[in-house]
Amino acid sequence: MNNEHESKEIIKNIFFEVFPNLDKNDFSWEKEQKDYENWDSFAQLNLITFAEAKFDISLTLEESIEIKSANDLLKIVKQYLV
């Protein structure tokens, strides 16, 4: 089971993989979808796919749609890891 620190690291790395142009200094947990240059519906799908694979979980459609920031993804993942 991942602790919160590990989970945060994994999610950060997911964002860097899905958004390869994202600078380490530009990452913010609160930064929203609209502020990302390439966060379209396919990137959203990729974020969810990575999270499901890394944490061995399966998100519902409603949860998937709710994700608008790294923080949103972290919150949802934490619910599964309790």
Binding site: E17, F42, L45, T49, F50, A53, K54
Partner: protein, 479 residues
């Protein structure tokens, strides 16, 4: 020239030469011709029939029966020994065949099929008969009928004529350099265009053919290379990839005398091609693109100076290929059409399928493109396209990319229903032996190498991917 002429030529040129080796049995061209004639005479009882079904494992007897039926002026309907009862029932109904000739094992199997009322004869029983009346050979225009494997649709009956066989065989010999000095190892089922083409080629040039029952025993293949001093080997790409699990030094030793490995156009992993280029010191790996309906339409020889490991090569002599797309540009992806003397004129009793043939052009259902030097690259079948939120994705592109990951033995991509996108991509992966690769590693590879709409949304590790005998994925069985 028909197949019987091929055989007669060898009887005249070198009748005492060994034509076929099957386990501990050998038969010379002279003996083979004698057995073929005997078989033709002994099936005189079936003379009213236009078509006879043949099903057997690989053996000398199979080849005698195949040529014997042709020599008697009939069409051979070739059936896979793995056939299901329902499929056999449908093929017999469509082909209008009233008789099955088979080996004893198949006779036992088919006799247990309640729905099959067709008369069954054993090959060996026919050969043991004594019929002194000599039947005049009168070879039919058509040689054989095969029902295509139906990887994406219902099987269709394809009839192949002697003139198509002659045309294709001459192209094989010209492009791949077969000669009477070759010793050809064939561990492929003989009820398919690939295996049959190899038999025809051996008969045409008068080489010696070494038959194996199948390709499941890799040690047997390697030992046969050494034992029979094999010069050419015909196998599907999956067999080649599996052989690479042996130690490199061992493989190099066994393949040291091979001048040619020929494989079919089921996508060969790029890394497999590169490794065989290194292994084959005195020879080449080659592939071809073809369908039962248009055999050997291209050839590709993977020589060390050509880096197109994912191409199926250039058009065969006197075969035309066109790419049909909105841009009318052969360099852009589109539907593949083929025209030439290797292309069927029509399907067997199938008006609907005949719509795929017009003015000599066969619409293959495959998609691909040419590069500027005329090398063809396949991109999958048009009916396999996955539509991810309006973006069209060819599974082969994902599969080729993933197969290049170390630790992946095989992979297949296909569409699954998605509430938002309509379809997304699922990937089933077989891990290599001792591989500890996980889903994240595969996704990381995909995101670095593919556009984001091509990233699989779901990955499963599986033990097996459903395939035909010739390595084509049975996509309708994927889930």
């Amino acid at each position: 020239m028909n197949l019987i002429d091929f055989l007669r030529k060898n009887v005249e040129n070198h009748g005492d030469k060994v034509a076929i080796i099957d386990n501990h049995k050998e038969i010379t061209f002279f003996q083979l011709y004698g057995e073929v004639e005997k078989f033709s005479n002994n099936i005189e009882i079936l003379n009213q029939e236009k078509i006879i079904s043949l099903v057997s494992e690989n053996s000398i007897s199979f080849i005698i029966a195949y040529l014997g039926i042709i020599n008697s002026g009939k069409i051979v309907h070739l059936i896979s020994p793995e056939i299901s009862e329902m499929n056999l029932f449908n093929q017999l109904k469509s082909s209008e065949s009233k008789n099955i000739i088979c080996n004893q094992l198949m006779k036992n199997k088919i006799s247990n099929f309640d729905s099959i009322k067709t008369t069954i004869f054993e090959i060996e029983e026919i050969l043991l008969k004594h019929n002194n009346k000599k039947v005049k050979s009168n070879v039919n225009e058509l040689a054989y009928l095969i029902y295509t494997s139906g990887t994406t649709s219902e099987p269709k009956g394809v009839t192949v004529s002697h003139s198509m066989i002659e045309f294709t065989t001459k192209n094989i010999v010209k492009m791949l350099g077969y000669s009477s000095s070759d010793i050809d190892l064939l561990p492929l089922p003989l009820n398919h265009s690939f295996g049959l083409g190899c038999i025809h080629t051996s008969l045409y040039v008068g080489s010696t053919l070494v038959l194996l029952k199948n390709a499941s025993n890799l040690e047997e293949i390697l030992e046969s290379l050494k034992k029979y001093k094999i010069t050419t080997l015909a196998v599907i790409p999956a067999t080649l990839t599996k052989i690479l699990n042996f130690k490199n030094e061992k493989i190099k030793k066994y393949f040291s005398q091979i001048r040619l490995i020929i494989t079919n156009s089921t996508a060969i992993p790029k890394k497999t091609v590169i490794q065989y280029k290194e292994i084959l010191k005195k020879g080449n790996l080659a592939t071809y693109y073809g369908l039962t309906e248009a055999s050997r339409s291209t050839f590709m020889i993977f020589d060390k100076n050509n880096q197109r490991e994912e191409s199926v090569g250039k058009c065969s002599p006197n075969v035309k290929i066109e790419i049909v797309n909105e841009e009318k540009n052969n360099l852009k992806i589109g539907d593949i059409l083929i025209k030439g003397d290797n292309v069927i004129k029509k399907y067997w009793n199938n008006i609907e399928a005949d719509k795929n043939i017009f003015d000599g052009w066969l619409k293959t259902g495959d998609t691909g493109y040419f590069d500027k030097e005329g090398y063809l690259f396949l991109k999958g079948r048009s009916d396999e396209i996955i539509n991810v939120g309006g973006e069209k994705v060819m599974p082969i592109e994902i599969e080729q990319s993933v197969k290049n990951i170390s630790g992946v033995e095989d992979a297949v991509a296909f569409g699954i229903v998605h509430e938002v996108f309509g379809q997304t991509i699922k990937l089933n992966v077989i891990k290599s032996k001792n591989s500890d690769i996980d889903k994240s590693q595969i996704l990381s590879h995909c995101i670095k190498n593919l556009e984001k709409f091509k990233i699989p949304s779901k990955i499963d590790f599986v033990k097996k991917i459903p395939k035909t005998d010739y390595g084509k994925v049975k996509r309708f069985m994927l889930k």
